[in-house]
C-alpha cells in the first residue's frame, strides 16, 4: 500500500476501540508486556493520547499571540515520559500546550498538585505540593533521573486509590 503519513496519523482513533490493542502492539514491538498487566490498557492512555493528538493538530499562532506549533518531538517526549512513570491506575492528567512549544501535564487531586512541563526528552520542569504533607513540596528540573517523578506519581495514584475504595 502506498499510504501517506496522514493516513497513519488518523488510524489510532479507531485503533483505540480495542481494549487489547496496547498489549498486542507492545508485545509485537518490544515484548515488554509485564508492566501493562492483565492485557487491559492503562486508564490514562486513551484520554491522554486523544488530547495529545488534538494538541498536535494546532498550527503556529494557535493562541493568536504568536504561540509555537507543538512539535512531534515534544509530544513523543510526553508519551515516552508517561510510559516510564505512570501506573496503570494513575488518573489521566490535564494536557495543556504552552505558547513556547512545551506541553504541561497537570493533576490537582485529593490535595495533591503535580505539574510537569515537558520541554524535551531530557528536560521536564516539575512542581509538586501535597496539602497533607507540606514537607514534600518540591520544584525543580528533571532530566534523566526519573526517581523523584515516579515517587510523586506513586503518591498521587495511591491517594486517589485510597479515596476511591
Amino acid at each position: 500500500m502506498n499510504a501517506t503519513a496522514e493516513t497513519f496519523y488518523t488510524l489510532p482513533n479507531d485503533f483505540w476501540q480495542d481494549a487489547n490493542s496496547v498489549r498486542q502492539i507492545v508485545k509485537q514491538e518490544n515484548s515488554k508486556v509485564v508492566s501493562i498487566g492483565n492485557g487491559s490498557k492503562p486508564k490514562w492512555l486513551t484520554p491522554t493520547t486523544r488530547r495529545l493528538f488534538s494538541i498536535l493538530a494546532l498550527d503556529n499562532n494557535w493562541d493568536s499571540y504568536g504561540a509555537k506549533r507543538i512539535s512531534d518531538r515534544v509530544a513523543g517526549a510526553v508519551q515516552d515520559l508517561l510510559w516510564q512513570i505512570m501506573q496503570k491506575n494513575t488518573p489521566a492528567p490535564q494536557v495543556v500546550p504552552s505558547a513556547s512549544g512545551s506541553i504541561q501535564l497537570e493533576w490537582h487531586l485529593r490535595g495533591i498538585d503535580l505539574e510537569i512541563e515537558v520541554e524535551s526528552y531530557t528536560l521536564a520542569k516539575v512542581f509538586f505540593e501535597d496539602a497533607q504533607n507540606e514537607e514534600l513540596t518540591w520544584e525543580g528540573d528533571i532530566d534523566v533521573d526519573l526517581t523523584k517523578l515516579v515517587h510523586f506519581i506513586n503518591l498521587l495514584t495511591n491517594r486517589v486509590q485510597q479515596n476511591t475504595h
Binding site: 501517506t4 503519513a5 497513519f8 496519523y9 489510532p12 496496547v22 502492539i25 507492545v26 509485537q28 514491538e29 518490544n30 515488554k32 508492566s35 493520547t49 495529545l52 498536535l56 512531534d72 518531538r73 509530544a75 513523543g76 508519551q79 515516552d80 515520559l81 510510559w83 516510564q84 512513570i85 524535551s120 526528552y121 531530557t122 532530566d143 534523566v144 533521573d145 526519573l146 526517581t147 523523584k148 517523578l149 515516579v150
Partner: protein, 275 residues
C-alpha cells in the same frame, strides 16, 4: 581503572560504531543532504538512504519505555526525514546523518584482510574529524550548532560458535555448564541481554552498558557464530564536542574491559591477548 586497557592482536571485532545524538536541527530539510554530501563526498563517494533512527535516551528510575509504541502513536504525523549513509569506496567506513544524529562506523567487509585499525590510531580521530566537519557545516550555513544529548559507542563481535549455538560457556564466563536439563530438553540456542548502569565516582548516573549475545550465521560461509554486541550509551557531561569525545573514551574503555572480563581465557588465547 588504572590497569592498562586490555588489548587483543586478533579480536573478533566486526563493527565499531560511534554515534552522537543532538537536539534536532529544526530547519534541516531534504536539500541539506545534498549540501552536506558536497563536504563529505571526497572521503565517502557513495550514498544510500535508510529509515530514520528513533530518539534514544538512557534514563533511570522509571520503567523501560515503549519505543515502538510511541513511534506508532505520535511520530507519524509528518513525513520523516530519511537517514543518509555516506560510504567510502572500500565500503568499510561510513557516516550516518539525520537531523538529530551523527554516527561513524567502521565495519569488516567479507571478514578477511581488513582488521580493525584501532580506536586510538584511527576510529577516534576519524569520528572527531567527521563530526567537526558536520558541526562546522551547520554553523556556516546558519542551521545551528550541535548540542549533544546522548552518546553511544558499540563494538560488535562475531565469535565462532564452533558447530552449534548451544554451548556458550566456552566463550562467555557468565554461562555455566551447570545449566543442564538435557535429560528433559536440549538447548537449541541462547540469547542474552544484560544491562549495567554506569555511574561516576560521585555516584551519579552516566548511562548504561548493554551486552547482547545472540546466535547468528556468518554471511560469508553460513557458519554459526555468536554475535556479541557491547554498547555504552549515555549523556555527555557537557555540550561541547570535547565532552562527546570524553564520553567515547570512557565508553570504549568500559567496553574493552568488560569484553575481557566476560570472555574466557581460552578464547583470549585464540584472539591473541597482548595485555
Amino acid at each position: 581503572m588504572s590497569d592498562p586497557i586490555p588489548s587483543f592482536k586478533s579480536p573478533p571485532l566486526n563493527e565499531v560504531v560511534l554515534g552522537v545524538q543532538y537536539d534536532a536541527i529544526e530547519t534541516f530539510n531534504i536539500a541539506t543532504y545534498g549540501l552536506l554530501w558536497e563536504r563529505f563526498k571526497d572521503e565517502f563517494p557513495n550514498i544510500e538512504q535508510q529509515m530514520p533512527l528513533e530518539p534514544q535516551f538512557e534514563k533511570i528510575g522509571g520503567r523501560p519505555s515503549f519505543e515502538g509504541f510511541r513511534r506508532f502513536m505520535i511520530e507519524q504525523r509528518s513525513i520523516p526525514m530519511p537517514r543518509a549513509w555516506f560510504i567510502s569506496d572500500n565500503k568499510q567506513d561510513l557516516v550516518q546523518i539525520q537531523p538529530d544524529r551523527f554516527i561513524r562506523n567502521w565495519r569488516s567487509i567479507n571478514g578477511e584482510g581488513n582488521k580493525y585499525p584501532r580506536y586510538e590510531r584511527y576510529m577516534r580521530d576519524r569520528f572527531l574529524k567527521n563530526l567537526e566537519l558536520l558541526d562546522s557545516f551547520y554553523q556556516e550555513t546558519g542551521l545551528g550548532k550541535i548540542q549533544p544529548n546522548q552518546c553511544e559507542i558499540s563494538y560488535v563481535n562475531h565469535i565462532d560458535a564452533s558447530c552449534a549455538h548451544n554451548n556458550l560457556s566456552k566463550t562467555f564466563v557468565g554461562w555455566s555448564d551447570q545449566y543442564d536439563i538435557s535429560d528433559l530438553a536440549d538447548i537449541e540456542d541462547i540469547n542474552l541481554n544484560i544491562k549495567h548502569t554506569i555511574k561516576s565516582d560521585a555516584g551519579d548516573f552516566l548511562g548504561r552498558l548493554h551486552i547482547k549475545i545472540m546466535p547468528a550465521f556468518k554471511a560469508t560461509d553460513d557458519s554459526p557464530i555468536f554475535l556479541m554486541e557491547l554498547t555504552v550509551r549515555g549523556r555527555p557531561l557537557g555540550n561541547e564536542l570535547k565532552d562527546v569525545i570524553n564520553f567515547m573514551d570512557l565508553g570504549r574503555e568500559t567496553i574493552v574491559r568488560a569484553f575481557a572480563k566476560i570472555t574466557t581465557s581460552e578464547m583470549h588465547q585464540v584472539w591473541e591477548r597482548e595485555r
